[in-house]
Amino acid sequence: MVRTEDPRLLTVGGTYVDDLREPALEQAARVTFVRSPIAHALITGIDVSAAREAPGVVAVLTAADLDDLPPPPPDSGLTGTEGLPFPLGGAWSEPLFAVDRVRFVGEPVAMVITDDRYQGEDAAELVSVDYEQLPAVVGVAGALAGESLLFPSAGSNVAVATGTPADSAAFEACDVVVEHVITNQRLAPVPLEGRAAAAQWADGKLTLWVSTQNAQIARFILVGALGLDPANIRVVAPDVGGGFGAKIGVDRDGLLVAWAAKHIGRALRWAETRSENMLAMTHGRAQRQVVKIGGTREGRILAYRLDLVQDTGAYSRMGGFLPFLTCLMAAGPYDIGHVETAYQVVVTNATPISAYRGAGRPEATAAIERAVDLFAAEIGVDAAEVRRINLVPADKFPYTSGSGATYDTGEYVAGLDKVLAGAGYPELRAEQARRRERGDVLQLGIGVASYVEITAADADGGETARLIVHDDGTATVYTGSSAHGQGHHTAWAMLVQAELGIDMSKVTVIHGDTDLIPMGVGTYASRSLQLGGVAVHKAAVEVKEQGRKVAAEMLEASEADLELDVDRGVWQVRGDPATSTSWAQVAAHAGDAGLAADVNYTEGKPTFPFGTHLAVTEVDTETGKARLIRHVTVDDAGTVLSPVLAEGQRHGGIAQGVAQALLEEMVYDAEGNPVTGTLVDYAIITATELPSFELLASETPATINPLGAKGIGEAGTIGATPATQNSVIDAVSHLGIRHIDMPLTPARVWAAISEARESR
């Protein structure tokens, strides 16, 4: 299988927003943002006069120019405790331009519009903003201390707090209880294409080209922010250079570009620099977790508690949604009798947090998988064996976990055993023992992580598809789902070919244009195939039945006697290939009535993929340097449509998971200044830091949709992160080390080794 997308991407390149050469954008001016260089300050004055006089400047805009917007919606009264993925309103609301206060380095304060890009950089430096610095709230501890408040009228830095009460009896009944504080550090998503937008206001209609995962959601947001009728907005998602959750909808910077094009009446282009991207695109993760796990000396886990604080950055764009998902999935793939969870969401003077590949689930898995290893170490039982003892057995599905999620289907123990066999687990342990015995500098670590995750958590939001078969025998699919690397165009064409026998090469897939596809949701939460793909499949089934009726008429046969020869793409009377008619002929015969189906497929329930990852690392005990040398996984996401595409999703996710475990962290200093704001300082994982991956196949079909599909997009970050972290800690566990926080950089690992040796 080769992708239909690739010839273009490989020869002339994709058409990302900054590549657009639309006539409408020919005279477009360039947008350059002026951003806050201070984490927390009052704005006491903005002087744009010098900037306005600079060469090429068309306009300089600030909050004072936002005089043509609808009033903000009334405070909904929602505190976010409900777990809604909506920003908090009222006292917590987020402006477009900063008004009288900045809350993170990178917050947009003003916008310079110039004829060309270099002029914008010059003029932006001439915008003079007077700041009165305030004490910065850094990290969870700073937020909870409450000495400085981001939103004084809210009276607290805690935006959301909820949870189940602690029940000490459940833990008192355990032979062994282990408790630990774990940091799930702040990450930058870093899609290779940063945020970008272009906008034109003409004839009462706004067109926004934006690098987004969801054109239709972006339009919905624009309607609210700009007070326009949806019919007067067209949003186009051209090629998108990666999203990873950070390009859901459109954020304030993109809204400002759209607003400004209308406000000044000139088409605009904006493509952020990487340094801007690191500060102003949302970040992910950022939880401080306290895990408490208890059970028997034989390894049965009886009780688990997860208490977490979500650092949501300067604005609570997701309410309580991320920690809600973390708590929902807290129990992981284990059958645990007593599970408690609680979370708080706190604001800090840092970049706002939003979805990042996994969005709440990697955090849940990281917590329980560390907890299981801590428990296993405490009782002295092999960590893989503890998992086998506690994994939900195959005969218990559907299974409702201790944290309240109902897992649909699974073969958790089989997945674990397949990985252990594939990796050669006993031999790895023997090699580890030999190196320990010899006192090698390079120690071997074996980390296991089993997981279950939730995909299409918003399955009831559904997805749309429209399929048309044309009278030249080709077909067009309009999908509400939205590709940014996943290969939807190939996958949707495969679905049409499988059902109708129309060759993939004759199927055109169109996405991401609200004029053509007004209704849709788009791509996030590993939802595409199981919702958008099923919608395409159902549309094909519907068109097939339309085709049967028409073909029956043409061939003067009863519908029941007709069959579709999917290999040839022709209708024929059963057992009589000589009587065939093609899709082109059928479509032509159907005439104006046509062969077309519109589907809006919703599903009542999410699905729960699962798997096990095993990471093998070598840790240099003299330098602390950890190197991943093998990574073996089962990622069971139900029935696989395209192994090539599914494996690609796993590969990318594994790399990002390993990167969190070993390398990546957005770091802020005590004043709230980011110190990892470029790709020189923020350690994106490279080809040299990874091995080739060993992927094992496993397919346990979902039963709620006709494709048997679950989501695969986020499995990698969910499984690989704790497996890698566990492997590094395992490599040095014989020194008495039980835990090291991520990222497991040489400095951290070396410090842990040194401390362990000193205390001996």
Binding site: L10, L192, T678, A687
Partner: protein, 156 residues
Amino acid sequence: MKVTVTVNGGEVAAEVADRTLLVHLLRDVAGLTATNVGCDTSSCGACTVLLDGRSVKSCTLLAAQADGRQVTTVEGLSDGSGDLHPVQQAFRAEHGLQCGFCTPGMVMASVSLLAENPSPTEDDVRSALEGNLCRCTGYHNIVRAVLAAASERQPS
């Protein structure tokens, strides 16, 4: 200032500001938008092109530094017959790209590697591509693609 650069075999002559980066000459003047900008610290390699046959990061060179020289971008890689270059072909066959943003730079870096080292090991490939970041593929299939392209060109 006036610069004249041979891009993919054709002459591009333009009056540009002194500080114009080569990548912006390629994208904004020559209209060749396959070459992307992914960072501002010479870290990501999305802008990799060949300058007189060797890979360079075109965001890190001034257009003036390419004056009088030959630049090859991914648009100039296949011979125009419609056939893909062996490296492009291998990236397609091995699913070595997802979103496509790093791809032009990744392909050019790979072409440069194979010109210098026609039969690289996996470690050689990983090392040669250290300056080209990909956030989608985990490099797994990119490495396979480069190795496949190498063995295609070196029938044993």
